[in-house]
Amino acid sequence: MTSWRNNRAARDARIAAGAGLAHGKVVEAPDATRLLEAVIRPGDRVCLEGDNQKQADLLSRALLAVDLSKVNDLHMVQSGVVLPEHLDLFDRGVAKRLDYAYSGPQSARIARMLFGGKIELGAVHTYLELFARYFIDLTPHVALIAAVSADRDGNLYTGPNTEDTPTVVEATAFKDGVVIAQVNDIVETVPRVDIPADRVHFVVKSDKPFFVEPLFTRDPAAITEGQILTAMLAIKGIYAPYGVQRINHGIGFSTAAIELLLPTFGERLGLKGRIATHFALNPHPALIPAIESGWVRQIHSFGSEVGMDEYIRARSDVYFTGPDGSLRSNRAFCQTAGLYACDMFIGSTLQIDLQGNSSTVTTSRIAGFGGAPNMGADARGRRHPSEPWLKAGAEADPDSPAPLRRGRKLVVQIGETFGDKNVPLFVEKLDAIELAEKLNLELAPVMIYGDDVTHIVTEEGVANLLLCRTAQEREQAIRGIAGYTDVGRGRDRSMVALLRERGVIRRPEDIGINPLDADRNMLAARSIKDLVRWSGGLYAPPSKFRNW
């Protein structure tokens, strides 16, 4: 007779195999590897929670130490490949196949291993895309997750860095998978229940807290005059005319400069309350002066940021917090918010080509996509109107009748024409294309496609690509703000002059900005210490950012 409950029976067998090592659900840390050998089968799809910030580091080490005759050829499905152990798994043969989204610190090594054939690559995803596949064709058999604390029943408190955990657990626990959590502490009662106990099968107490990196802290002391100038151009040339209130900011220094100019430059322009009121954004400290000055009404976050816990607790009008008072972040929901409920994405990139395609891939580094493509893309399923969305749509398509015209999300690339070590931002051909050829990929890893980009801002001005009517106009609009790069010096001067007359290109003087006014004194905070002062002492920067 056909059985329709095979997966459930298999899950029960896995749990039974692990139960011998547990007291209730609790397993001692030294037994973690034996637990994984009991529960995981060769070839399993395993999500080893590697988020953008939080890492299940104890379970990573435990998995790396398994007996290869019991556990091998795993298919890893995790958003972040961040720890060295994540790749050691492939070197050792514990894992074989990989589907992921982001590999920041491991980007050079992952490129080498892909070239060397050590990793069988499924695909590089955006966060939302990988999360979506957890529910369709990449559902984990076993999820190895990280939480701050658990009670004896297995209720989990994930703390401010909830990040991907609810999504991973939802996909695994409700499709006959096994969920194993590492926790910093086992407590009588958890401060709040982020993951209910009936979705958690084993809990391992770690001897030290899980690893979290302060990824999003930008020291205002390192912001340059060039970044201040581009930030001024963005505020006065884009935020103001479109009236953009709902925003996702990237994590570079240019957007940090924008945040630090709101209470000074933005205030003088009379923009308070009219722009930059709602954010999909991590709680990074550069926004503290704007919050304290009353600019920001609400922020939903993908994850948290080290040192911001007490500030967030004290500002629950602004942040999403639990009954315990601490931040509740959620990457899947925040990515969705950034995609559908924000009118603008603004961020930096490493390379932009003549069509406006951008990429952070170089031939020796594959950093993955993370969330930027979700934020930096027009949401074709969006149906609610807003002033900036309608205005951008009208600029792109002035001839269609308004009731049938799609709006457009503002997708803004901001940067200086030359980056670190004088490497040009603008290129004829993306390194991503060369990489795709070398690795035989069907798709070049493009971060944001040119047809989604609406504006590019450099120190030379703002290019409004919505107003370009031909591919040639688009190319010259990009060349026209590419400064002294080869791409910029290859411009057709007469065509660029015409585009400037039409307002496709706007120079600083066209926007009423004197580049000589771009001065560090305009920043609301010029150091990490200034940020601490703005926060009333609530922001506690990690030691690497303390120089006093």
């Binding site: 340059t224 060039g226 200086e416 024409t417 004088n422 400064g483 002294y484």
Partner: protein, 105 residues
């Protein structure tokens, strides 16, 4: 190290009466510009000592645009460059003109 030198005829004399001024610092990615009012009113000269080799064409374009835009007649610029980006060079040159014109503080 590379030495570069540019001479341009200029439409008009730079404003102000200060005889010299200095802006910027010699540091990686930055530059120091010394400007002196020592040339005839219709001339401008730029002398560059740069740490980065092989950027003569870019310097030529940056200096050409600068002279066209600010008409710095009578001024000699001496640049000590620590590999600054072109946009930083443009900014420092503009700052130097403003400073010697005396409109700055």
């Amino acid at each position: 190290m590379e030495d570069l030198s540019f001479h341009h005829p200029v439409r008009e004399r730079a404003g102000g009466i200060r005889q010299s001024a200095i802006v910027g610092v010699v540091a990686s990615g930055n530059l120091e510009v010394l400007v002196e009012r020592v040339l005839p009113d219709a001339e401008c000269a730029v002398e560059i000592k740069t740490a980065a080799m092989g950027f003569g064409e870019v310097w030529s374009a940056v200096i050409g645009d600068f002279v066209e835009r600010y008409s710095p007649g009578g001024l000699k610029f001496s640049i000590n460059d620590g590999g600054a980006r072109p946009d930083t060079v443009s900014l420092r040159l503009a700052q130097a003109v403003r400073l010697i014109a005396g409109s700055d503080r």
